[in-house]
Amino acid sequence: MAVKNFVVASFSDEAVLFPAVKKVRTAGYKLHDVYTPFPVHGLDHAMGLRETSLHTAGFIYGITGTTTALSCMSWVFNSDWPMNIGGKPHFPLPAFIPITFELTVLFSAVGMVLTFCYLCQLAPFVKKHIFNPRQTDDKFVMAIEVTAKTNAEELKRFLAGVGGEDVNEQRVESGWWFGRFDREDRLFETKVEAVNA
């Protein structure tokens, strides 16, 4: 993980945010991320993020569940401890289907949740920098990385020009670190200016 410089702008409307994202990308700035208080349809597409592979992972987990269930049950009832249940054959496939289905769902669901947490770097005690506390409330916050080629002052003017409010530069950790929000930042105690002041 590395400490980097970011220029941060917030937007109060999707209608301003979308053209701004487009202009930032056309201008060639390095878009770090856009934080929104709710899922915004089409924003991933506008930001040029690649299609997630979470569903491929889910398929693999599901197949793993299917194989686990079928192989485990057939091993138990065919070689480990064969039993005669209601005169059914030792490999009663229809009877195995519900459990196979359950394990498929269980494996893919749990696996996908864990993968999702990994991809988003979410876990207990994993802490990330919050660029603007209002990004979980009513502001769309855009963070742009200041690279060696970026002129920060020019970028600030550019962001203000495309409708960004409250443009500022922050020197922060770009990745995650171990910590606790309640002990370190006490964000809930930070005074935020009233919205309708």
Partner: protein, 402 residues
């Protein structure tokens, strides 16, 4: 914007050719099938095809009903397509009704053996059921269900066309949503009580009159509903390919694809629920239904049914790209329609003409019904603009994003 559908001459010719094939097959059937066994196959083929295609076009009315009640907006852009398909309900309903009445009142006992009064008297199970399974009830239920379906299909279509003459004000918008919700609510209740319960018992389940399954109607419904989605996709893609419906794009196709995917799995769920309990309990009066299908001549069809209606859509429609591609959706829609036609075939065949036959007659009749559906739908599509321009949710459909 091309908003008014003009019937393409080629499609019209195709529909006539298909209807011709159907009629020719019917004529060949009249002359080729002799004796009791032949007559059974003749009527079973008609029953299978007309009930299948009626339920498939009826699924379009259900599509309108369900999406309207869910306050869906995404389907408004192409709502005229399921509307036009649902207008085939009165036509196919009339055909099915004639077939049902001919079967019941000319005493085709090999189709419905509860028609034989002498036999029912000595049969304990059938005499218990005779309060329900008799010609009077059969006729009454057929009249009521086909009548109610036709009424609601026509009503929903008429309301939608009528709204084209209204204005765009907020009050009108609320009125459109309100009355559509009310009428669709009424239709869904009727649909649930008929397709979801009683009607398939009479038309299809009573072929195996001793046997019963509470999953049967749901299973029939799932079959017809997923085929109905496939039919909507086919007409939608045809319109798109001819430059109509510019506001409909792969986002809408993607959502229809999700429906096809989800309800293929739903069909399998119901299919399996019906099968597993009977397999598990292994009681003679219940396994009679599955005996010819799993351990008799129909065994290949039984497994083909699962392969084509579950494994194929499951693996094929799982990927996002296939659901967003017009050609691949046409392919899978045809697979689904043929697959569920096979499903209905194995529902009717083993109980009536018993032996597995090469289904040239059944398939030829099916093509005839497809011709009728194409003819009615393209004719109906010309009757109104393709976009309901005053519907308040139209914008939601245009900007739709999955």
């Amino acid at each position: 914007m091309k908003d008014q559908f003009v019937v393409p001459a080629r499609l019209k010719r195709t529909s006539f050719v298909l209807m011709g094939v159907g009629l020719l097959t019917l004529l060949i059937g009249i002359f080729a099938f002799h004796g009791e066994h032949g007559s059974t196959r003749f009527w079973a083929g008609l029953l299978q095809n007309s009930s299948f295609f009626l339920l498939v076009v009826l699924a379009s009315a259900f599509f309108i009903g369900a999406t309207t009640l869910a306050h869906g907006g995404w389907q408004i852009g192409f709502r005229r397509v399921p509307e036009a398909i649902s207008m085939a309900v009165p036509v196919l309903g009339a055909i099915l009704f004639v077939i049902l009445m001919l079967i019941a009142f000319t005493g085709k006992e090999n189709i419905y053996h509860w028609l034989n009064a002498e036999h029912v008297k000595h049969d304990e199970i059938l005499s218990w059921k005779s309060a329900f399974l008799n010609k009077g009830m059969f006729t009454a239920f057929s009249v009521v269900t086909i009548g109610a379906w036709s009424f609601f299909a026509v009503k929903l279509r008429k309301m939608s066309i009528e709204e084209d003459g209204w204005d765009l004000s907020a009050a009108t918008g609320r009125r459109i949503v309100w009355r559509n919700t009310v009428w669709c609510g009424g239709f869904i209740v009727v649909y649930a009580l008929t397709v979801g319960s009683t009607t398939p018992w009479f038309w299809l389940m009573s072929i195996d009159a001793h046997w019963y399954s509470t999953m049967y109607s749901w299973y029939t419904f799932a079959s017809s509903w997923v085929s109905g989605i496939a039919l909507i996709i086919l007409f939608l893609v045809h319109l798109k390919r001819n430059g109509y419906l510019p506001m409909v794009n792969e986002e809408h196709l993607h959502d229809l694809g999700k429906f096809a995917f989800a309800f293929s799995i739903f069909w399998t769920y119901l299919w399996f629920s019906q099968y597993m309990l009977i397999w598990y309990a292994n009681m003679p009066e219940e396994i009679v239904y599955f005996k010819p299908r799993v351990w008799g001549e129909w065994r290949p069809i039984f497994f083909l049914n699962l392969l084509i209606n579950f494994i194929t859509p499951l693996l094929y429609l799982m990927k996002r790209d296939t659901k967003r591609n017009y050609s691949s959706m046409v392919f899978i829609s045809i697979v689904i329609l043929v697959g569920h036609w096979l499903d209905f075939w194995q529902m009717v065949g083993p109980g009536t003409y018993k032996h597995l036959v090469f289904p040239w007659y059944e398939f030829g009749l099916g093509l005839g019904f497809v011709g009728v559906i194409i003819y009615v739908v393209i004719h109906q599509l010309t009757k109104a603009p393709l976009v309901p321009k005053n519907h308040p949710y139209l914008k939601e459909s245009i900007v739709h994003h999955t």
